[in-house]
């Protein structure tokens, strides 16, 4: 019972952070994510100032095409002689942007729908949840592919469509949190005091549901990254010449036997980046759920 006194003086978010930090898997995955973020930010910054490193991702040189990894081109060159490492560094920013913005969109919609359904209940809840049920019947990736293909693939369309399609999980989670929390003493107290619904939702309920919502957000990022990579692979992702991890693989599939590096490295980047987000999200969930 020694822990009780210390943990009661500790704020809940600090306790979650402390448990999260004591998990080595969490630390490593966050470091990997920061590494990718630095690469993404760095390459954008360098190319904005005109100092592309190692070189311009769109600089073609047919004399240097399909070169294996070498000291000049660490990850080799593609069929147009472009440096794969430079292209992948620019691809990092696309993947992270897609992940973050798509999650922001889906989180926004999911929280609003879930909060309204869970707080007000009744017929509103019924209607909203039937809409969620209907959306859950669509094969997600196929739905995204259809809309992006018909609207025309662009970074903006892709993030919005991924966000619009993937909010159902968040809505369900937020709704169930609200159903529990609206019966708590402090919410009832706030209602007795005559506070309006907006105030109760934003000040009393949402902060207490923050941890599980944050976990779904973190776990949603790699989903979006993988979906964008799949779209890119089918030719409906962010369009060339803009490099993405998915379209480097798609471009390289013709030369797969001669140029394995066009497939291996971007694939590993997608894998490692999404895996880190999943592991970090899971560690966060564990830290938030545990009582000690």
């Amino acid at each position: 019972m020694q822990g009780v006194t210390t943990s009661s003086s500790e704020s809940p978010s600090f306790r979650v952070l402390r448990r999260f930090r004591s998990n080595p898997v969490a630390i490593i995955s966050v470091m990997v994510i920061v590494f990718f973020a630095l690469i993404a930010g760095g390459s954008l910054l360098l190319s904005a100032t005109g100092h592309d490193w190692p070189c311009d991702p769109n600089l073609t040189n047919l004399e240097l095409k399909l070169l294996p990894p070498s000291p000049q081109h660490w990850l080799g060159t593609d069929n147009l002689g472009r440096d794969v490492l430079s292209r992948m560094m620019h691809g990092a920013s696309i993947s992270l942007t897609v992940g973050l913005i798509a999650v922001a969109v889906s989180l926004g919609i999911g929280m609003v729908v879930g909060a309204i359904a869970g707080y007000f209940g009744g017929i509103i809840d019924q209607i909203l949840m039937r809409a969620v049920d209907a959306l859950l019947c669509f094969p997600t990736f196929f739905l995204i592919l259809t809309v992006v293909a018909l609207l025309g693939p662009s970074l903006l369309n892709i993030v919005i469509v991924i966000g619009l399609v993937s909010w159902t999980g968040t809505a369900r989670l937020v709704r169930s949190e609200f159903l529990t929390l609206r019966e708590t003493e402090y919410v009832k107290g706030a209602r007795v005091l005559g506070q309006n619904a907006w105030h109760i939702i934003t000040r009393h309920i949402l902060p207490n549901a923050a941890a599980p919502i944050l976990v779904t957000a973190v776990l949603g990022i790699p989903d979006a990254i993988l979906q964008e990579a799949g779209l890119s692979f089918l030719g409906f992702g962010v369009q060339p010449p803009q490099a993405t991890w998915g379209n480097i693989i798609a471009d390289g599939k013709t030369y797969l036997l001669d140029a394995w590096w066009l497939n291996l490295f971007p694939g590993l980047a997608i894998l490692i980046a999404s895996l880190s987000f999943y592991l970090a999200g899971d560690a966060l969930r564990e830290a938030a759920e545990s009582r000690s």
């Binding site: 898997v25 039937r130 809409a131 049920d133 209907a134 959306l135 859950l136 019947c137 669509f138 094969p139 997600t140 990736f141 196929f142 739905l143 592919l145 259809t146 809309v147 293909a149 018909l150 609207l151 025309g152 790699p222 993988l226 990579a229 799949g230 692979f233 089918l234 998915g246 693989i249 599939k253 797969l256 036997l257 497939n263 694939g267 997608i270 894998l271 999404s274 895996l275 999943y278 592991l279 899971d282």
Partner: protein, 320 residues
């Protein structure tokens, strides 16, 4: 139970109605035209264009178009813009391959997901548990198209093993058993890759409920009776943790069919996923609407079956 099924079917009709409206408006309201010859092709006379519009009801207002599409869908008269064949028969000829692929993927993900989940729960808090979680997230994080390419190239080019399509071409099989084995072989690899995500999610669900179950009194009783750990785990604990797994079948179905788009495309597997991809490329509106409808109906059917199965394996579940 009969009244449960009836009520669920009624709800499904409502959901299918919403789904048909959503998919109809997605395909019709997006910019672009379905003309197979391109919008501005000067070689096509105005008369041909008008006939085309009339044939596919594109000259009517949207709500009438929707009603006509649904009428044609149910009477079997809905025709593909691509090849003018009835959409229903285009879908039906892909249905067996899709059902075979998805069922195999579900069987694979259930069996391996169960093993992985039990393993992680058994060693909860130890390194084996962390390893199990790592494997599960690795499976989810693997880009399907990437790993498919790696495997296809390794097998086809490296070993000369035929894996594309549903059966090997140019080989005469002595009997139907051998050709059945050949079909199974062609099914196994795409189904396994498709199942990776399912293995992961099933193992995560099972791990969570198994950890709860293993804390129960009857587990302590079973252990103190001297039963072997395998019997305690797989007979006593697993039976009481199996319900979320079965409920999960309905949940993984949309992900499976969606994920099949990429994998069927690479494996040249004639399933509904590839049909959908081709329909997207050709802007074949009737096929897209019908396909979404059929897939949604399959998903609802899967949900219903998994609910009935839950009640069958767990008497505590009441179908209400």
């Amino acid at each position: 139970m009969i009244s449960f099924i009836i009520r669920r079917l009624a709800l499904s009709v409502v959901l299918l109605f919403i789904i048909s409206i959503i998919s109809f408006f997605i395909v019709t309201l997006t910019p672009g035209s379905p003309y197979p010859w391109g919008e501005l092709n000067p070689k096509i006379s105005a008369e041909v264009k008008a006939n085309f519009r009339k044939k596919f009801h594109l000259d009517r207002p949207l709500h009438e178009q929707y009603a006509l599409i649904m009428r044609d869908l149910f009477t079997g008269n809905l025709r593909s813009i691509k090849d003018d064949r009835p959409v229903i028969s285009r879908i039906l000829e892909r249905l067996p391959a899709t059902v075979a692929l998805n069922l195999t993927a579900i069987v694979i993900s259930l069996s391996f997901g169960t093993l992985l989940g039990v393993y992680a729960a058994r060693y909860n808090g130890h390194w084996q548990d962390a390893l199990g979680s790592f494997i599960a997230f690795l499976f989810i994080a693997l880009p399907g198209f990437w790993i498919t390419y790696m495997v296809v190239i390794a097998l086809v080019k490296g070993f000369g093993v035929p894996i594309l399509g549903t059966h090997s071409y140019g080989i005469e099989f002595p009997n139907s058993f051998a050709s059945g084995l050949d079909t199974l072989w062609h099914l196994l690899l795409p189904a396994t890759i498709l199942a990776l995500g399912g293995i992961a999610s099933q193992s995560r669900y099972l791990r969570a409920t198994m950890i709860e179950s293993l804390r129960e009194d009857y587990i302590r009783t079973a252990r103190s009776k001297g039963l072997s750990e395998e019997i305690v785990l797989y007979k006593h604990a697993l039976r009481n943790s199996i319900r979320p797994i079965i409920a999960g079948i309905g949940m993984v179905l949309p992900a499976l069919i969606g994920g099949a788009v990429v994998i069927e495309t690479i494996f040249a597997y004639p399933g509904m996923g590839r049909l959908g991809y081709e329909a997207v490329l050709e802007r074949d509106y009737p096929t897209l609407v019908a396909l979404n409808f059929v897939v949604a109906a399959l998903v609802l059917l899967g949900n219903l079956i998994s609910d009935l199965l839950s009640a069958a394996v767990d008497p505590r579940v009441r179908l209400e």
